[in-house]
């Protein structure tokens, strides 16, 4: 069977980044995680064909790449919301009300832990590792930013702002 060539489906800059990573490491295989990140940065998730692109570029089998990507919880194999909300519920956050915070956000957004809002704006995750911001507990991370010392009202405010400023945040 001839596999379709999907390299064209990626932005040339993404492909260039993958090749740059491949050449940076003493072993090309080390570029698997950076390559998957580059693709997820462009597409928001990792469609099956994209794993084949990584395999081709790094000289691996597609199954090998999938075995790696499936190990790590931050790679998505389906389209998530445009923004990812992670509510930390480990010890320090738990002691300061993170369960109540998550419950409130579930109600307010109308989704359960792991779900995506109907407008596709947010994916809510309450089963995550300790997010390393215990000094500001309870906290949530939205995309790459931490929002700390939250209560339900403040969390709503933050998310409303993000929702309202979407076009600018889409990059």
């Amino acid at each position: 069977m001839v596999e379709a060539d999907h390299t064209d489906a990626l932005n040339p800059a993404t492909l260039a980044r993958i090749r740059q990573m491949r050449d940076l490491y003493p072993s090309p295989r080390s570029a698997v995680l950076p390559a998957l990140w580059a693709i997820q940065d462009e597409l928001a998730y990792l469609p099956a064909w994209s794993l084949e692109v990584v395999a081709t570029e790094l000289g691996l089998l597609a199954g090998d790449v999938e075995a790696v990507s499936s190990f790590y919880s931050m790679y998505f194999n389906h389209q998530p919301g445009r923004h990812q909300i992670q509510v930390c519920r480990n010890v320090s956050c738990g002691l300061r009300g993170s369960d109540e915070l998550l419950r409130h956000l579930e109600n307010w957004l109308g989704v359960e832990d792991g779900g995506t809002t109907t407008d596709g704006a947010f994916t809510l995750e309450g089963t995550v590792e300790c997010l390393g911001a215990c000094g500001g507990a309870p906290m949530m991370q939205v995309d790459r930013f931490s929002y700390e010392n939250l209560n339900p009202e403040r969390a709503e405010e933050v998310l409303t702002k993000i929702r309202n400023s979407e076009p600018r945040d889409l990059d």
């Binding site: 940076l24 490491y25 003493p26 072993s27 295989r29 080390s30 570029a31 698997v32 995680l33 950076p34 998957l36 990140w37 790094l58 075995a67 790696v68 190990f71 790590y72 919880s73 931050m74 790679y75 992670q86 519920r89 480990n90 010890v91 320090s92 738990g94 002691l95 300061r96 009300g97 109540e100 089963t127 995550v128 590792e129 300790c130 997010l131 390393g132 911001a133 215990c134 000094g135 500001g136 507990a137 991370q141 995309d143 790459r144 930013f145 931490s146 209560n151």
Partner: protein, 427 residues
């Protein structure tokens, strides 16, 4: 406290996150001096400092470096910036506030160990911090501190910032190496230790972010001066993360050995809301619980071990008298269940049974026989797992059960959590 600081001594200086701002406070002078000293003298200075690893295991850094076999090249340096221990956020602070201090420490270590590639493995969730380090590394290249012919010498050093993708286990050094090689992040059998056979099968040193951030001071001010900041048995200072039920959670750099848990608690403003102290977890999520009787124990490796716990990765989680220890234990066990890498049966299955049982206990529907079973499960995990993740998944639960047996027993058949039902829920 006005004790001399090492890691946070430049706090508040303007532009610290840029090369220029860092140079203004003497930044990169340590690297210049290190290159003049030569590798052997640097290693000797680090040995004299008594510095012990800040990643959790507290292994003497100079000794670890000494394990690299002579004349085997290439060698690699991996910086452990995976910081995922529940309750720990010090490496994040060190990367956000003092990124160049870390890079200078990395370069000093790289020169001392004669490596040409230094990798900084940073957890996936720290995406913002990863980009910050990438920017800082680019600047270091431009200023001639990294890349080809560092500071006019014949030594080349690549600084590569490598992002993980969500897996606690990748903080374990051999899992980190597998992940960095582009594999599933599962631990490797030791020995061989990374110093002998690490990244790509070559001699490798893995050091924590905080460990390396101490090096610019040690090289410029001398190992003896660093050591004298603490006590003989616990030299130097350490950045502790205090969180939980305190008025002012945060990170505090304090001298080792001379400071007590009570001092740390006071730095953080004491127990919040005028409540009473109930328990604390030093070291991070993996470590054993301590009680009020331990508040005057000094932050000394041996003293804390004798109290039945560990300084681990430098955390202190404080719990007030409204806390249900069964709830806290259950939360931690859930975490380990989620993060078990699946490689060995005792950890993968053990954390599953442990957490199912904890949920029943917390809900007040477990029997006393099941509580006995919990001890049994943990006894069958501890010492039988492939790596310490599985062992540590039992430590908090078992220590809490020993210290607060009535609290666990009162949950049996109660139909609800008897502790939290009686008190207002913290919010």
């Amino acid at each position: 406290m006005d004790d001399e600081k090492v890691l946070t001594r430049h706090l508040g200086a303007p532009g610290l996150t840029t090369v220029g701002g860092y140079e203004k406070v003497g930044g990169y002078q340590g690297l210049r001096k290190a290159i003049q000293m030569g590798p052997e003298a640097i290693v000797a200075e680090v040995k004299a400092s008594g510095l012990r690893g800040r990643g959790g295991a507290a292994f003497p850094t100079g000794t670890k470096w000494g394990f690299l076999p002579k004349d085997v090249f290439p060698r690699y340096l991996c910086v452990n910036a995976d910081e995922s221990e529940p309750g720990c956020f010090k490496d994040r602070v060190l990367m956000e506030e003092f990124p160049h201090q870390l890079l200078e420490g990395v370069l000093i270590a790289a020169y001392a160990l004669q490596v040409t590639h230094a990798f900084i493995y940073i957890r996936g969730e720290y995406r913002f911090q990863r980009e910050l380090l990438e920017r800082a590394a680019k600047e270091a290249y431009r200023a001639g501190y990294a890349g080809k012919g560092v500071l006019g010498t014949k030594w080349d050093c690549e600084l590569i910032v490598h992002g993980g993708a969500g897996a606690y286990i990748c903080g374990e050094e051999t899992a980190l190496l597998n992940s960095l090689e582009g594999r599933r992040g599962q631990p490797r059998l030791k020995p061989p230790f990374p110093a002998v056979k690490g990244l790509y099968g070559q001699p490798t040193v893995v050091n924590n972010v905080e460990t390396l951030s101490n090096l610019p001071y040690i090289v410029t001010e001398g190992g003896a001066r660093y050591a004298a900041l603490g006590t003989e048995a616990s030299p130097g200072t350490r950045l502790f993360c205090v969180s939980g039920h305190v008025e002012r959670p945060g990170t505090f750099e304090v001298p080792m050995g001379k400071t007590t848990f009570r001092d740390l608690l006071e730095l953080a403003g004491g127990v919040w809301r005028g409540r009473q102290f109930k328990a604390m977890q030093p070291g991070g999520g993996s470590m054993q619980v301590l009680g009020p009787q331990h508040l005057d124990v000094p932050l000394d490796f041996k003293a804390v071990a004798e109290a039945g716990s560990s300084l681990g990765a430098g955390a202190l989680v404080v719990m007030d008298d409204s806390t249900c220890l069964v709830d806290v234990a259950s939360r931690l066990v859930d975490f380990y269940r989620h993060e078990s890498c699946g490689k060995c049966v005792p950890c993968r299955e053990g954390t599953y049974f442990e957490s199912e049982l904890m949920h029943r206990l917390e809900a007040g529907i477990a029997s006393r026989a099941e509580l006995a079973e919990l001890s049994d499960i943990c006894a069958n995990m501890e010492g039988r797992c492939f790596c310490p993740l599985g062992d540590t998944a039992t430590w908090f639960v078992m220590s809490a059960l020993r210290m607060f047996p009535e609290e666990f027993e009162s949950h049996c058949g109660a139909g609800r959590c008897p502790v939290r039902a009686g008190s207002e829920v913290a919010a």
